[in-house]
C-alpha cells in the first residue's frame, strides 16, 4: 500500500498539475496483457539461422589448438566463426566514453580467462544442429593457475588474469590501482574517538535473472545495412559498440528494441549483438543469437561481488567522527563496467551522513570468473549493506536507538559532503521520521523535531584539513597486448601521460564549475 505524504515539503512544490501526479495506466499495459508487446525474439524472419557459442571449460588456460574441422562438416552448419574473423577482437565497453583500455575479445584466441568465455561461434540452420556441431569442436587447453579471491589477486606473484592490467587491478587516472576519497584526517579522527569498530562485509555475486534472456537477431537489410532486433538496455551504446568491434560506420546499423523483458543492468554489455551481426555478414542471412538460461545465469555478467572493510570512530554521544573504508569490487576477468562502479562507490562514501573525516580506497580487481557488470543500485547496494549494518552495530555500541542514531548523524542542507560538494535537497531525516511513524517505532521528541532543512552548514560545511599522502610515483604499466589484438596501431593507447601535479587547488574542477553555473550553489 502506498501513501503520498503531500504534507511534507509542501512549500517546495507546486501541485497544481494536470497529468503529473496521476496514476495513469501504462501506455504498454494493453500490449502486455494481450501478449502483443513485441520483444526482440518475437520477430520471425525468413531463412533465419541460429548462432551458439562454444565456451571455455576452464577458468584460466592457454588455448593450444582449436580444431573445428569436424564441426564444419556437421549437418546444417553454415559458418564457424573464430576470433580471427572478428575485425577488432578487443574492446572494453566504456571505451566509447574514453574510460579504460580495450581488454576483452569477442572470441578468445590464445587464452581464456574465465569458465564460460566464448571461443568459437557456430551458425547453423537450427539450434539443434548448432548444438550438435558444438560437441564436435575440439579445444586443447593448457590449464593455468587461476585466482578467485580479490585479495589473493592483489598479492605479488598472483596469476595474471588479464594482461592489459598485469597487477590484476584497474588503473585509475593512469596512476593508482584504486579510486581514492580523502576528506579530513581519518587517523586523527579515529585516535580521538571513544570507540573504534572495524568490520568486514562480503556480498556474493548476484544474477540479474530477467525472465527474458539476453539476445538479438541481426538481418541483412537493403542497401548494405543491417537491421538488429535486440534486448539491449542501451540502444546507441550497443550500436556504437558493434560499430567499433565490426569496424564499420555506425549508420550501417538500424537497431530496434525498446521493449525488453526485464534488464536490471544485465542487458548493457552487448553480449550477443556483435556476433549475431557478424554471423549475418558472413552468411548473408538473418542470424539469431539468444542466451539459454544456464548461459545467462553462469556466463552472462552478474552484479559483481564486493568485499568491504569499514573502520569507524564514534563518540559516546553517538557522533561518528571518522570512517575509513577499503572496498574491493570483483570485476571478474574483464573490466566491462566495474571500473565505474568503484568511482560511483567512492563518491557515495560515507553514506548519507555528515562525518568530518572520511577515507576511502575502492579497487576494481580482476579474477578468473565471469566478468561482472552493472546492476540495479550499481556500486552502492553492497556498500549500503555494509554501512547500514555498521550503523546498527555502532548504535548498539553506544547504546542509542538506531533510528535516533541515524537522525543524529544524517546529512542536512548546507553540510559538506566527502566528495567536497555542498549537500542540498536532503531528506534522509524525514524518511527516518516517517518510517518510524509507520512502523510505530518510538523516537524521542527532539528527533521528531529534527529537519534536513535545519542545523546544517556552519561548522558542518567545513572541509577539515586533509593530510597529503606521499605521492606514489606513477609507473603506470604499459598496456600489454596479446596476439588476438588486431586493433590498428593508431587506436592503441599512447604511453601513459606524466603524472598529474599532486597539489590541486580547492577551486572546483571544470565539470563542477559548470554544475554550479547551471544549478547554483547556496553558501551560508
Amino acid at each position: 500500500m502506498l501513501e503520498l505524504r503531500k504534507d511534507i515539503f509542501a512549500d517546495e512544490r507546486d501541485d497544481n498539475l494536470k497529468e503529473i501526479g496521476k496514476g495513469t495506466q501504462r501506455q504498454d499495459m494493453l500490449g502486455h496483457v494481450t501478449g502483443t508487446s513485441t520483444y526482440f525474439d518475437d520477430h520471425k524472419l525468413q531463412g533465419m539461422l541460429h548462432l551458439k557459442v562454444v565456451r571455455s571449460t576452464h577458468p584460466h588456460a592457454r588455448l593450444r589448438r582449436i580444431d573445428t574441422s569436424d564441426a564444419e562438416r556437421s549437418a546444417g552448419v553454415r559458418r564457424i566463426i573464430r576470433g580471427s574473423d572478428v575485425p577488432r577482437n578487443l574492446n572494453t565497453l566504456l571505451s566509447l566514453i574514453n574510460f579504460g583500455k580495450d581488454d576483452e575479445p569477442s572470441l578468445a584466441v590464445d587464452k581464456v580467462r574465465y569458465k564460460g568465455e566464448p571461443i568459437v561461434a557456430i551458425v547453423a540452420d537450427s539450434p539443434r544442429e548448432a548444438y550438435e556441431a558444438m560437441a564436435k569442436v575440439r579445444i586443447d587447453y593448457e590449464p593455468l593457475p587461476a585466482v578467485f579471491d580479490v585479495e589473493d589477486a592483489l598479492k605479488p606473484g598472483a596469476p595474471v588474469v588479464n594482461e592489459t592490467y598485469p597487477k590484476n587491478a584497474f588503473i585509475y587516472h593512469d596512476v593508482y590501482d584504486h579510486q581514492k576519497l580523502r576528506f579530513g584526517d581519518v587517523e586523527r579522527g579515529l585516535a580521538a574517538a571513544d570507540h573504534v569498530l572495524e568490520q568486514r562485509y562480503q556480498m556474493s555475486p548476484i544474477e540479474h535473472a530477467p525472465t527474458e534472456t539476453n539476445g538479438s537477431i541481426a538481418a541483412p537489410d537493403t542497401n548494405g545495412r543491417y537491421i538488429v532486433y535486440t534486448s539491449t538496455q542501451a540502444l546507441f551504446f550497443s550500436l556504437d559498440t558493434c560499430a567499433k568491434i565490426l569496424d564499420v560506420p555506425s549508420n550501417t546499423f538500424h537497431f530496434i528494441g525498446g521493449t525488453v523483458g526485464g534488464g536490471f543492468g544485465g542487458k548493457v554489455d552487448t553480449l550477443t549483438e556483435p556476433l549475431a551481426i557478424l554471423g549475418a555478414t558472413l552468411t548473408g542471412r538473418p542470424v539469431r543469437y539468444v542466451l539459454g538460461r544456464e548461459e545467462e545465469m553462469q556466463f552472462g555478467s552478474p552484479r559483481g561481488a564486493e568485499r568491504i572493510y569499514i573502520k569507524d570512530g564514534v563518540m559516546r554521544d553517538g557522533r561518528i567522527v571518522a570512517r575509513k573504508i577499503r572496498a574491493l569490487f570483483d570485476s571478474g576477468a574483464y573490466t566491462r563496467l566495474s571500473s565505474y562502479a568503484a568511482v560511483k562507490c567512492a563518491a557515495h562514501l560515507p553514506g548519507p551522513y555528515t562525518i568530518p573525516n572520511v577515507h576511502g580506497d575502492v579497487y576494481c580487481v580482476f579474477t578468473n570468473r565471469t566478468p561482472a557488470t552493472a546492476m540495479r543500485g550499481f556500486g552502492v547496494t553492497a556498500m549500503d549493506f555494509a554501512i547500514e549494518c555498521q550503523m546498527d552495530k555502532l548504535a548498539h555500541l553506544v547504546g542509542m536507538d538506531p533510528m535516533e542514531f541515524r537522525i543524529l548523524n544524517a546529512y542536512r542542507d548546507g553540510d559538506m559532503k566527502a566528495h567536497r560538494r555542498e549537500a542540498k535537497n536532503c531528506a534522509l531525516i524525514e524518511c527516518v521520521q516517517v518510517a518510524a511513524e509507520k512502523a510505530k517505532w518510538p523516537i524521542r521528541e527532539e528527533f521528531k523535531r529534527a529537519s534536513s532543512r535545519k542545523d546544517g552548514g556552519g561548522s558542518r560545511a567545513a572541509i577539515s584539513p586533509t593530510p597529503r599522502e606521499s605521492y606514489a610515483p606513477a609507473t603506470a604499466p604499459s598496456q600489454q597486448r596479446t596476439t588476438y589484438d588486431r586493433a590498428p596501431a593508431a587506436a592503441r593507447e599512447p604511453p601513459p601521460p606524466p603524472p598529474p601535479p599532486p597539489p590541486r587547488p580547492q577551486a572546483p574542477s571544470h565539470g563542477a564549475a559548470r554544475f554550479s553555473s547551471v544549478f547554483g550553489t547556496r553558501r551560508r
Partner: protein
Amino acid sequence: MTRHRGRGIASINYPIGMNLGGDPSQALVHSNPSGKFTVALSSIDLGQGMKSVTRQICAETLGVPVEDVYVDTADSDTGPHCMGSFASRGTHRVGNAVMMAAREARGVMMEAAAEELEVNAADLETDGRGNIHVKGAPHRSISTKDVAIAAQFKQGKTISGRGIFLVPLSDVDPETGEMSPATCYAHACLVAEVEVDDETGEVAMVRMDSAYELGRALNPRLVEQQLVGGAWMGISHALYETPEPYYPDPSHGPRDFVEYLMPGPGDICPHDIAVLERPAADGPFGAKGPGEMCANPVLPAVANAIFNAVGVRVDELPITPERVLRAIKAQGGARPQARR
C-alpha cells in the same frame, strides 16, 4: 525449536544518473495534422515505465491530454541518442529532454493558435483537454486539432520540438576523489520485521514499513510498482540469491530457476510505503528516480532485524539458512535482543 521475531532498520540515499563521459539524452516531439503528438526516443522501456512516464511529462508540458501523446521508444533510425536505461537516469535525464522538446513544440503550437485566433500567443493558455483559449475568455478557443491542421496546411509551421538534457562530466580528482557525482539524490528508510527459526536458520519476512523520498511521484502507480517490486528484489538479494553460493569458491553455481533461489509469491510480506516529495531543482517537475534505490535499504534492514531476533550478525550476503545457523551455533544459541 523457537521462532524469534526481530525488527531492523536502514536508511539510505542514492545518486540519480551517472558521472561518466557526460550523461546526455535526447528527445524529439512532433504533432501529426490531427493534433496528436509522437515522442521519438531511443531510450528503452525494460518494464520500468519509460514510455508511460515520458508520455505524462510530454502531455503536461504541451498542455494536452495524455491520450493525445504516444511515445515510441528505441529505434536508432528515428529516435535520437540516449545513453540508455540504467543508473536510475531515465525519469530524470530523458524526462528533462522530453520536457525541453515539448516546450519547443508547445511554443509553435501556441504561435499557430495565436495566428488563427488573431491574438498574441502570450495571451493564450491550454486547458489540458485539447483546447487552446484566450486567458480569461474561454469562448475564444480553438482545438489543438484545428491548430495542427492550420499549421500544416495553411501556415506551413512544424509543431515540433527538440530536447536534450546533459549533465556534463565532472572530473574526478585522483588524490581526493573530489567530484560532482550527481545533481540530485533520492532517499529512503525501511523497517523490516523478520522471524528467524533457530533450528533451521530460515528467515521469514513478516512485514516492512518504509518511506521513500523521490522528488516527485510523477505517476504514483508506477512508483508503487518500482517500490513494491524493488523491495521484493531486496528481500531476494538479502536472503536468497547468488550464482556463486560458496564465493570466492566458484563451484556449485546454479544453472536454472530450481537452483537459483528467489522468494516466490508465498514468501512475500505486507509492505506499507510512504512517499515523500522534495523536488530536485533540476528534475522534471522535481522528479528524481525511484528505480534503483528501492532494493538497497532492504538488505541491511533484514540483516539488522536478524540480529534483533537472534543476536547474530551475518555480514555476508546472501544470508542463507546455513549462514544463520552456523552463526547461531557459534554463539551457543539464539540471543534475542530487546524487542523493538
